[in-house]
């Protein structure tokens, strides 16, 4: 069969069908949410990569101002890290309760997670206010700019995670553990544990290496 013969056989609708998939298969609602959310987390990871790079570059530029050893209190950071770790496992318990369709327990564990998350934020804000009170403001030196940007961005993420968490507690209260809410809980689970992963980088590179 020659090319011209083939061309003449193709009628207009057939040609169209080659470009537009007329009987598209079914995409269930939320079918691509988890992969999409994972892509978001990966791009968020790159934001933190930039901030870590900035800290790596500027971390030694003290401009004759205070350095990590003058400012950081490792006991406070250890407490902070413990809060975030506890919140991670309690979020895990919320997910397990969700799998058993136990609405009350899911909400309860979410609220326990919120308490630990809020404790983390409270300690971080205490640390920041302490630093600023001592004159170690973000404007003081390149090191402090990079420090506040990196740790502050992480803290901001935790803040938004908390707002999201409270929203979900209300939504579960109103609509129960419907598939959409479960999907949202799974997204927040990824987000929350992802923030914990970032915090591992922060306490290792900023606090522990700074105190060496």
């Amino acid at each position: 069969m020659t090319a011209t013969a083939m061309k003449s056989e193709l009628t207009q609708p057939q040609l169209q069908a080659a470009f537009y998939d007329l009987d598209e298969h079914d995409h269930p609602e939320g079918g691509s949410t988890m992969l999409g959310f994972w892509m978001y987390l990966m791009s968020d990871c790159l934001i933190f990569a930039m901030l870590f790079a900035a800290y790596g570059v500027l971390g030694g530029s003290f401009a004759a101002g205070p350095g990590p050893k003058d400012l950081f209190d490792l006991k406070l950071i250890a407490l902070n890290t413990a809060m975030l770790l506890f919140s991670s496992i309690t979020y895990g318990f919320a997910m397990l309760a969700m799998e058993k369709d136990n609405r009350g327990a899911t909400q309860l564990w979410l609220l326990v997670t919120a308490v630990f998350g809020a404790a983390f934020l409270f300690i971080e804000l205490y640390e920041f206010s302490h630093l600023i009170h001592e004159g170690a403001t973000p404007m003081r030196s390149g090191f402090l700019t990079a420090f506040f940007s990196l740790v502050g961005t992480h803290g901001l993420h935790v803040t938004f995670g908390l707002i999201w968490l409270f929203t979900l507690v209300v939504q579960i209260g109103k609509k129960g553990l419907i598939p959409a809410n479960k999907r949202r809980l799974m997204c927040l689970s990824l987000f929350w544990h992802f923030l914990d992963v970032i915090w591992i980088g922060v306490f290792t590179f900023v606090y522990l290496m700074g105190m060496l």
């Binding site: 790159l46 890290t81 997910m95 591992i200 105190m211």
Partner: protein, 124 residues
């Protein structure tokens, strides 16, 4: 604990959720992997600073993997492997960004270092 098998198959089978055992193992491992580096730095157990730095970085790397597996439930099968592909891509970009920035800026700093009068006197 889970005698009640959940009755309805909920629509999305993405991301396995992990079991209680997974979460507890992950938690215990991360507590240990956090406590050791803090202890090393706070007590100064290893006298050499660069050795300590390497050790705590190794602990951080292991802990990140632990979190990925036990809390984020990463595996090579979820979403037909696309989550792992995205992760690998991100790690490549991350390594290029971090090492590139540090490398370039270190040399820039080194070459632009303001000289003291003593250093100037020693110039060839």
């Amino acid at each position: 604990m889970s005698e009640h098998v959940h009755p309805n198959h909920h629509g999305d089978d993405h991301g396995s959720h992990g079991s209680l055992r997974d979460y507890v193992i992950g938690f215990i491992l991360s507590v240990v992997l956090t406590a050791i580096p803090f202890w090393l730095v706070m007590t100064g157990a290893i006298a050499d600073k660069s050795t300590t730095a390497l050790v705590i970085m190794a602990f951080a790397a292991v802990q990140i993997v632990v979190h990925m597996i036990y809390f984020l439930h990463m595996n090579t099968k979820s979403e037909n492997g696309w989550t792992v592909m995205a992760l690998i891509f991100t790690i490549v970009i991350l390594v290029i960004t971090l090492s590139g920035s540090l490398w370039v800026m270190y040399h820039l700093n080194h070459n632009m270092m303001p000289m003291t009068s003593h250093e100037m006197g020693q110039l060839p």
